[in-house]
C-alpha cells in the first residue's frame, strides 16, 4: 500500500494514521490560543500606528490619553531603552515603539493599556503626533534612483539593504559550451500568510520580578532572547510560552513590537496586559513573501542539459530587515538543488521601501526562483521540441551528490516523483493534445529539511528533548517546539511511542515553554520533525536502555533479546515471558532512581567552507513533482484549475494522513499565490495597503480549490528520524509554475508574472492575436553597482569548498 512504508519496515506507530494528540481539543473548542486566555485584573492594549509612510516624528503628546478614565498607562518609544531588535543579528533595526522616525504606515508610535479595548481605542484618539514628512520610497525602481533619504542608515548603499554575488564555477565557460542561451525576466508578486488567527499576546509581571509572556509565536526561543535584550532583563527571569498558533506559515516567526510592548506595559502597571491585533494590523505586520524581480540567463545543450545559469534577483524588502538577508540568499542559493547545474552565478539585491516588511512565508525565498527556473525549463523544452517531463527527468539532480554551491544532497527520488504524476495524470495523452483553452503543465522542486545553521552563531544543539517516566508508567515528553497546526506535538508522541513500544496516547507532550522545556529553535525552515524527532529518538533510546537493563536482570533474559511492543517488554524468543511497560518502568526506577533522559540534535557539518556557505545546506532534501490541469477562458482570461497531481518524496511519512494534509495545504497556498493573492499598495495615497482585509485580499475558498491527487514517495534518508524528510513547504514550490506552464499549453501564451490574473492572461492572448509576442511580464531588469563576486570552484572542478580570493585582492598583489 502506498504510504505504508512504515508497516513494511516493521514499525508499529510510525507510518500509521494516528489521530493527532491535540485534534479532539481542537474539535471541541477546548484548546486555548493566545487570545483565549483571560487573567484577573487583565488590561487591554491598543497601539497608535503611523498614518504616514515615512516621516520624522517632531513630537508625541500622550498626556490627554494618560488622563482618560480607564487608562492605566501610555507608552512611547521614549519609555523603552533605545535598543533595537530584529530577527537576524545582521539587521536588528526595529524599535518596539518608534523613536525619531516612522518608516511605514502601521509603524507603532504609542501604546495604551486600559480596562478594555474600547477605552484603549478611544484614548488613541487623544494622542497628538506631529510628523515631518519625508520623501517616500515606493518600489524597487525608487530605491535604485533615490539613495536619499535613507530608510535605514546601515544598508549597504543608499536604500539598498544588501547585495550578494557568488560565482560557482564559471558561467562564461558554461555559456561557451552551450548550444543555446536564453534570458527570461520574470516577476513574482508578494503575498501574505493570512493565518486565520490574528497575532495575540498576554504578559504578566509577577511580584518576584519574573515576567511571563503567552504569545502566538512560531519561534519562542529567538523571541526569548530579544525580550531579554530589549527589556534589559536576564533571560532566565523571562518565561515565554508559545500558545498553539492558529496558523503560522512564517508569519509568526519574527519577534514583534506588540510582544515587547505588552511585556513593558505589564511591568509598568503591575497587571496582566493583553493585545490582539486587528486583521488590518496583521496585514501591516506582514513579514510575508517578498516581491522579487528576476533575470535568469541559462545556457543549455540540445539535449536540454544546463551548462550554466546566471540568476539575478531584486527583492522589495519593505521597511525593515527582519529575516530579509536570509530571504535574499534563498532567492538563489537552492537553485542548484533540483537539476544538474555545473556553473552558477547568483546576484541578489534587497532594497528598503516604505511598506510592510517582508520575510519568511512558506518556502522562504524559494518559490520565486523556482517559478523562474520552472517556467524557463518549459520554454527550453518547447524550443528544443522535447517533452518537459522528460527533460526534467533526464536532468534531475542525482541522489547523494554535492551541488555546484556545495550543498550535499542525500536521498532524492525526483525521477520517481515525475513518473508518478506523469502516469497518474495521463500526461502523454494530454500534453499538447488537449483542445484550445485546456492545458496541462509540469514543474518540480527540491526543498530543505531544516537549515544547518541557527539564526545566531552558536555551537549548541538545535533541538532538545527531555523524557520523564515514573512508576505510574506515565511518559512525558518535554520539547521547546511550537505547535502551529502541522502536528509537531503529535510527532513527538509518535516517535517516543515507537521507540518504547507504547501507544501515542499513553504519552503526555509538553512543548513551547521556556521554563519547562529544553530549547528547540522553532517552527521554521521545515526543521521540526527532523530535528525534534532525532532528539526524541535519542532521549527515548536512552531510557529504553535503562528499562531493558532492569527487565533483563529481573527476567534473566539477555537485554538484546528484549522487545518493546504493545505496552510490554518481552523476550523476543519467548513472547509470553515479559513484563508490562508499567512494571518495566518500576523496575528501572528501582534500579536507577528517578527516571529522566535527554536527547539533542545538531545537523551535520556542510562541505562548503566559503562565507555564506552556511545558508542552504540541510540534513536532508525533499523533492516534488506537480502537474496542473487548467481551463483558460479565451475571452476573459479567467483561469480555472480543476486538478493537480503531486508526488512528494518525504523519506518516510511519520503519519501519512498528516503528510497528505500538508501536501494538500501546499497545493492550496501555491494555487492562491498563482492565481490571485497579492500584497499591493496605493503608491499615490500614502502607500497604504490596497486591501488589508479577507474580503478583498483574494484567497481561494472551497469553490476555487482544485482537486489534488497526492502520491507519497518514501525513500528513507539516513539523516531523518526513521528516514523522514520535510513535507510542509516544498510541495508548494512547483504549483505556481506548473499552472503557468499549463496556461501556455492551453492558449499558447506566457504570463511571466505572478499572480496569473485574468487581465494579464487576456493581455497576452490579445497581443498574440495581433501577431505580437504572446507574453505578459516584465521586460526590463534594472541594475545597480554590484560588488565583485565571491568565486568558489565547484566540486566538479576539484574545488575544496573554499572561495578563491576576490578579484580585486588578486590584482593588488
Amino acid at each position: 500500500m502506498a504510504g505504508n512504508n512504515g508497516g513494511k519496515r516493521g514499525l508499529r506507530v510510525v507510518g500509521k494514521p494516528f489521530v493527532k494528540v491535540d485534534a479532539k481539543a481542537k474539535c471541541i473548542g477546548e484548546l486555548k490560543y493566545a487570545d483565549d486566555l483571560f487573567l484577573p485584573r487583565m488590561l487591554h492594549t491598543k497601539l497608535l500606528r503611523s498614518t504616514v509612510p515615512h516621516a520624522r516624528i517632531i513630537s508625541i503628546d500622550v498626556s490627554k490619553a494618560k488622563a482618560y478614565p480607564g487608562v492605566h498607562a501610555a507608552l512611547t518609544g521614549a519609555d523603552l531603552p533605545p535598543i533595537t531588535y530584529g530577527a537576524l543579528p545582521v539587521s536588528e533595526d526595529e524599535y518596539p515603539l518608534a523613536i525619531g522616525k516612522v518608516r511605514m504606515v502601521g509603524d507603532p508610535v504609542a501604546a495604551i493599556a486600559a480596562v478594555d479595548e474600547d477605552v484603549a481605542t478611544e484614548a488613541l484618539d487623544l494622542i497628538d503626533v506631529q510628523y515631518e514628512p519625508l520623501p517616500v520610497v515606493t518600489s524597487i525602481q525608487d530605491a535604485y534612483s533615490m539613495p536619499e533619504p535613507r530608510i535605514h542608515e546601515y544598508g549597504e548603499l543608499g536604500n539598498i539593504h544588501r547585495r550578494q554575488v557568488y560565482e560557482f564555477g564559471s558561467v562564461e565557460a558554461g555559456f561557451a559550451e552551450a548550444d543555446h542561451v536564453r534570458e527570461d525576466i520574470t516577476f513574482y508578486e508578494g503575498s501574505t500568510h493570512l493565518a486565520l488567527e490574528q497575532h495575540a499576546s498576554l504578559a504578566q509581571f509577577s511580584h518576584d520580578g519574573k515576567l511571563t509572556l503567552w504569545t502566538s509565536t512560531q519561534d519562542m526561543h529567538y523571541l526569548h532572547r530579544h525580550l531579554a535584550k530589549v527589556l534589559e532583563m536576564p533571560a532566565s527571569h523571562i518565561r515565554v510560552i508559545a500558545t498553539p498558533n492558529g496558523g503560522g506559515f512564517g508569519g509568526k516567526c519574527d519577534p514583534f513590537n506588540h510582544e515587547i510592548v505588552v511585556c513593558k506595559l505589564a511591568m509598568v502597571t503591575g497587571r496582566p496586559v493583553k493585545i490582539c491585533l486587528t486583521r488590518e494590523e496583521v496585514f501591516y505586520c506582514h513579514r510575508g513573501r517578498h516581491p522579487v524581480l528576476m533575470s535568469t540567463k541559462t545556457g543549455y545543450k540540445k539535449d536540454g542539459s544546463i551548462t550554466a545559469m546566471h540568476h539575478r534577483t531584486i527583492l522589495d524588502g519593505g521597511a525593515y530587515g527582519g529575516h530579509g538577508v536570509a530571504s535574499t540568499f534563498y532567492t538563489g542559493i537552492l537553485q542548484p538543488t533540483t537539476y544538474t547545474l555545473p556553473n552558477y552565478r547568483f546576484e541578489a539585491v534587497r532594497v528598503f521601501t516604505n511598506k510592510a516588511p517582508c520575510g519568511p512565508k512558506r518556502g522562504h525565498g524559494t518559490p520565486q526562483p523556482r517559478w523562474a527556473q520552472e517556467i524557463q525549463m518549459d520554454k527550453i523544452a518547447d524550443h528544443l521540441g522535447l517533452d518537459p517531463a522528460e527533460i526534467r527527468k533526464q536532468h534531475a539532480i542525482a541522489p547523494n551528490s554535492i551541488t555546484a554551491n556545495w550543498i550535499r544532497i542525500g536521498t532524492l527520488s525526483l525521477r520517481q516523483c515525475i513518473d508518478k504524476v506523469v502516469a497518474g495524470s495521463g500526461w502523454k495523452d494530454k500534453f499538447r493534445k488537449l483542445p484550445h483553452g485546456k492545458g496541462i503543465g509540469i514543474a518540480c522542486s527540491a526543498y530543505m529539511t531544516g537549515t544547518q545553521t541557527p539564526i545566531y552563531y552558536n555551537k549548541l544543539p538545535h533541538s532538545g528533548v527531555q523524557l520523564k517516566l515514573d512508576r505510574s508508567g506515565g511518559v512525558c515528553v518535554f520539547c521547546g517546539s511550537a505547535e502551529i497546526g502541522q502536528g509537531s506535538d503529535s510527532i513527538l508522541a509518535y516517535i517516543v511511542a515507537e521507540v518504547l513500544g507504547i501507544d501515542p496516547f499513553d504519552i503526555r507532550v509538553v512543548t513551547g515553554d521556556t521554563d519547562l522545556t529544553p530549547v528547540d529553535l522553532g517552527s521554521y525552515s521545515s526543521r521540526v520533525t527532523l530535528m525534534t524527532g532525532n532528539a526524541a529518538i535519542e532521549a527515548a533510546e536512552r531510557v529504553r536502555h535503562m528499562l531493558r537493563e532492569a527487565v533483563s536482570a529481573k527476567l534473566e533474559v539477555p537485554g538484546e533479546r528484549l522487545s518493546f511492543a504493545d505496552r510490554r517488554v518481552f523476550d523476543s524468543q519467548n513472547p509470553d515471558k515479559g513484563v508490562s511497560f508499567v512494571d518495566a518502568v518500576c523496575l528501572a526506577e528501582e534500579k536507577y532512581g528517578t527516571l529522566g533522559t535527554t536527547g539533542s540534535y545538531k545537523p551535520p557539518a556542510a562541505p562548503g567552507k566559503y562565507k555564506g556557505s552556511t545558508i542552504g545546506p540541510s540534513p536532508a532534501f525533499s523533492c516534488t513533482a506537480a502537474i496542473a490541469e487548467v481551463e483558460v477562458h479565451p475571452e476573459t482570461g479567467i483561469v480555472v484549475v480543476p486538478r493537480v497531481w503531486i508526488a512528494h518524496d518525504i523519506g518516510q511519512a511519520i503519519n501519512p494522513v498528516l503528510a497528505v494534509g500538508q501536501i494538500e495545504g501546499c497545493v492550496y497556498m501555491g494555487l492562491g499565490e498563482a492565481l490571485m493573492e497579492e500584497m499591493t499598495y496605493r503608491g499615490n495615497r500614502n502607500l497604504v495597503h490596497k486591501f488589508p482585509s479577507f474580503l478583498e485580499y483574494k484567497s481561494p475558498t472551497t469553490l476555487e480549490m482544485c482537486d489534488v491527487i497526492t502520491y507519497l514517495v518514501e525513500e528513507p534518508d539516513a539523516n531523518g528520524p526513521f528516514g523522514a524528510k520535510e513535507v510542509g513547504q516544498g510541495p508548494q514550490l512547483p504549483v505556481p509554475p506548473a499552472i503557468a506552464n499549463a496556461i501556455y499549453d492551453a492558449v499558447g501564451v506566457r504570463v511571466d508574472e505572478i499572480p496569473l490574473t485574468p487581465d494579464k492572461v487576456l493581455k497576452a492572448i490579445r497581443a498574440k492575436a495581433k501577431g505580437q509576442e504572446g507574453r505578459y511580464g516584465p521586460s526590463v531588469f534594472p541594475t545597480c553597482p554590484m560588488p565583485p563576486a565571491m568565486v568558489v570552484p565547484t566540486p566538479f572542478q576539484g574545488g575544496d569548498g573554499k572561495a578563491l580570493e576576490r578579484e580585486p585582492a588578486v590584482s593588488k598583489k
Binding site: V19, A23, D118, G661, C666
Partner: protein, 182 residues
Amino acid sequence: MKPLGKNGRKKLEKVHIRLRVNGEETEVAFAPHKTLLEVLREDLRLTGTKHGCELGECGCCAVLVDGRPVLSCLALGVAMEGHEITTVEGMAVGTELHPLQQTFAELGAAQCGYCTPGILLTAKALLETNSRPSRDEIKEALAGNLCRCTGYIKILEAVELAAARMAGGQAEPAKETIYGWE
C-alpha cells in the same frame, strides 16, 4: 467618546438579558454594542468560538442561531434574547463527540484548528437540512469559511464521512484519503 455622568464617571450602561446557549439558560450583563462573538468569548468565556477579522469575512466566528449558521461578529448580543444559540462547545453530547468532530479529528481536517469551530457548526447545519450532500453542495455551504492550512480537501472528506456515518453506515475513509494514491 462615551458620555460621562454629572460626577464625571461613566454611566451604567450594561444590559442584562437571558440567553439560551447550548441548551442552557444563562443570565448575562454586557454593554449593548457588544457583538454575540464578544458576549460569548468575553462574558460567557466560551472561547471555542474564534475570530479572524471581526468584519464578517472569514467565517471563523460562525455559530448556530436557531440551527442556522450566523457570523457572531456581525450579530448583536442584545438581539439574541429568545433564540437558541449553539457553539462548538455544545456539539458533543457529554464525552461523545459529534460525528463531524470525530471525522475532523480522524482525517486531520483540523490542522491549526482555528477555523474548525466555525466550519464544524456550518457543516452541522448543512447535514441537518441535507443529510447526504454532494461534494459541490458541501463546497457551496462552506464557501464562506476560510481555511489556510488544509486546502479544504480533508474538511470536505470529513463532512462526507460524517454524513455517511450519520446515515447509519460503518463508513471508513478512502484509502487514498489516508495514504495518498498508489
